[in-house]
């Protein structure tokens, strides 16, 4: 990419959620116009149920008359003066490269897919570490140039302390549980709130917990699904980011579902991770707004 192209592709992205009231759109639009900002993407949502307003706006960095820090200072003043105190907002700079840590067990499909996407530049982030509780994915990970950390889970408490130490050393923007198969302790759910992303191999809220494909087989459903969600202390109950399904039929055994389900788990997790890294997701209560 030439320097010119890179500069043209750099974005400042504002995401904001606040109690809805007339004039918010105008205030934000006026603010951006005053800074000379050329808007490349703008999305809005007014939620009737919660009476909350959400927006995401991406602007060309090279059109703005100041840097990201100054823009943040200016927006903070505007927010303090004119927005509801419960307002939550972020201003991010695509030039500040994000970091991802991936937690895995033995299943390789989501990990290989994420490593491949990162290698192709599909994710605006670097995978800086992979932590696994088995060594089976170590060599594979390292062949993509990513460090692999083996943390055996003989002693669960000690193991999670070690996992947390490795993760927190990187202060990552996303901690991705790519079929990690271990339930995060409540303190880590709290500490990584809004950053820990899990893939569950069912269409939630159906088939919470263990062996969801076997549950699906027993019930005789005609579609199986996968759900990408933020991790919270309650198992498989966090805000849903993305879901999808594939068709099965009576000829599919649980083993067939496991195999076919991998494809949908892989895609659903990849979409969720990308949206998170592109600041497309706003969490409000137990639900998400996704400006995809």
């Amino acid at each position: 990419m030439s320097p010119d192209t890179a500069a043209a592709d750099r974005r400042f992205t504002l995401t904001l959620g606040c109690p809805d009231e007339t004039g918010i759109v105008a205030r934000i639009a006026g603010f951006l116009a005053d800074a000379g900002a050329w808007i490349t993407e703008a999305a809005y949502h007014s939620d009737d149920d919660s009476n909350w307003f959400f927006t995401r706006q991406a602007v060309r960095a090279d059109s703005v008359d100041c840097g990201i820090d100054e823009l943040r200072r200016r927006f903070a003043r505007l927010a303090a003066d004119e927005f509801h105190p419960d307002t939550e907002w972020r201003l991010t700079d695509s030039a500040a490269r994000k970091k991802v840590v991936v937690l895995v067990s033995k299943e390789s499909h989501c990990l290989i897919d994420l490593l491949g996407r990162a290698r192709r530049g599909e994710l605006p982030a670097d995978i800086v570490a992979v932590v696994g509780n088995h060594d089976s994915l170590g060599e594979l990970t390292e062949s993509f140039g990513v460090p692999f950390h083996l943390v055996p889970f003989d002693d669960r408490t000690a193991a999670f302390a070690r996992v947390a130490a490795i993760v927190d050393e990187h202060d990552p923007d996303a901690i991705v549980l790519a079929r990690f198969m271990q339930i995060l302790p409540a303190d880590l759910c709290e500490r990584w709130s809004g950053r820990a992303i899990n893939i569950h191999h069912s269409f939630l809220p159906s088939f919470v917990g263990a062996r969801p494909y076997h549950q699906a087989f027993a019930r005789g459903v005609k579609l199986i699904g996968a759900t990408c969600h933020y991790v919270t202390a309650e198992l498989d109950a966090g805000p849903i980011i993305e879901q999808d399904v594939i068709r099965i039929d009576h000829s599919d055994s649980p083993a067939d579902m496991v195999r076919q389900g991998r494809d949908i788990e892989t895609l659903v997790l990849a979409r969720g991770v990308r949206w998170h890294l592109e600041d497309r997701i706003l969490v409000h209560g137990t639900k998400t707004v996704v400006f995809d």
Copy 2:
């Protein structure tokens, strides 16, 4: 349709389920070959889990050297001699026109769709009666040339007795609950077992019971669905015939889901009803085999 075409399109259809053992396929194939039958569709399924075998075979009626009654007698002899006593089988003749009764409340979408399909000849059956607990769909039904029976539900027990009387007078092949919104009493579930087909407006087993779209909205799912199933005494727990989903997002209110969900309810019910009428569904325990 010319007589010749009609004759060429007439089918005898065998459906059979039995404990699996070597040689069943050969015995059935030999039987059909001996009768001179030209097979136009044949489907098989061996279920590893239950060790049960299922098949559906359609043959050109004009290729068989006898009528449907004689063919049934012959097959009964074969089954008695060579098949497991638990074997269940049917032999149907497409020239014997099937009958459908539809139960409705106020929602028109599934009813209009089924009436339209019957009018176009998409269903191998006649809709012989519609029973409604409100009069709002009466004129519409009759404009398609189908009798409408109003049964108010002030007294639920009396009402169901009246519904049952109307339905049973026709001895229909299918009783379709097209958003009927009333829970069938256990005795009718039993009497109409394997013939009563319901459409539930969620992707079961998620969101059983009332107001599933509101439940879906509250949980923040990213897809909503519909499920067509045989009615059993346990609410929304009967053998699933067909399911499908559509994508929603944060901007969809429960009212939007109700509107969009109609499209998927309509399609899923129509598929289930057609497969049932074409003898494509074999029920085994709490699950279905669908040879679509």
Copy 3:
């Protein structure tokens, strides 16, 4: 619906397309804020390829400090003063009920579906007339309370003159070719430009013209589709509004495709018509922006 609810649901909707430049969003947002408008939906698109900007904004009518005519006058002044002369915009009032005329031949599925949706209030419009070149759908149409006009096509030129007279008498917001099977003459394509909507039973640009399902069968494709598009003088080449597909396989004959294809034609046309009537579609050159 109570008067209060009705008032709360009334919307003024602005759609606008213009050459892109910095500050447009702010000017529009400022304009709406000055009028006291409570924005309920806002969507934007900047097209890199044409360097054109598009927006659609819906506001609560009861929040605006004037009526629709005055709002139009004010916006016209703003546009004249501050927007590029090529700017195209509309301001519509959901209280001004729209009108639809449907053109049909013998196939009933799209017509029944649209009549059903209009009956349920899913479309913000009335179907004011149906014109058919066969009488087979007349009784059906009238059972929904809609006038049916039979125009035989023995003399194509005279027939189209008659069709045009019936249509133009209503000055409809949409002329829907619901499997009309007649090619509109160029002068009507021109006169009804941006208002005439067709459903073609293939996934365009594959299988233009006659018997697309037979073309699809001959090629051996694994999906068949339908395309809703604005009618232009070049056959099946108008701006595409919506498309969708369904899966088929080797066992599906052209007749099976015709039957299954109806479901997707019906849905795709219904979506396109609804979006058109809700002012969600902006045409630019040979393409559409759809703010669904």
Copy 4:
């Protein structure tokens, strides 16, 4: 896997196509029953258009009273005595491990996906070699333990001679063009007929040839697709194995389509390759029967 499990999972698979006539099913079923064969999968198709009959039957190897060679000899005798001389059939043994060679250029997504599936045992075959015309995928390939052969394409004729030499040395069951971007010369199309599988990044027959996503963008379609097909001498016109699509909208640039299209290319190719390796595809003329 224990030896017992492995033995239970071993299959002999018969695929057959012949002119349709009464009694074929019975002859095959009788043949298998005589050999003691326990059928685990059976699929049939009678093609009305060509009047051709197709079947695929998988039986447990450990249920058959002879080995694969003797079974082939017996079936050859049956076919010679009782089947039409145009009959084409194969009998394969899942214990005879298949071989795949993959041809690539610079794009990594299909290759990584296939290597991942082979590693997980999802494909009943080994990827024995990857041939690339750039070196960018060499290290990645070798990290999966697969040899990579760099063949620069400065001299196209010499390059294809070298590619053919590498491929033919392995006598592979499938030659997979995983976004190879080079058009096979006619002699290789002929030599590898029925074994060379390509992925084209459009929903054929739309957008044949170069830069299909840019063609799709220019036309303004609302879905983009991918097509897996056998390679023939006419570009992008071989028998279609599998297709699928994903939804796009006006906000997607050609670059966005390229990125999103990768997901569907990957899945469609993977399905096609697996079906081919599992003997699920019968080619007849320009079309395929896929018993998936």
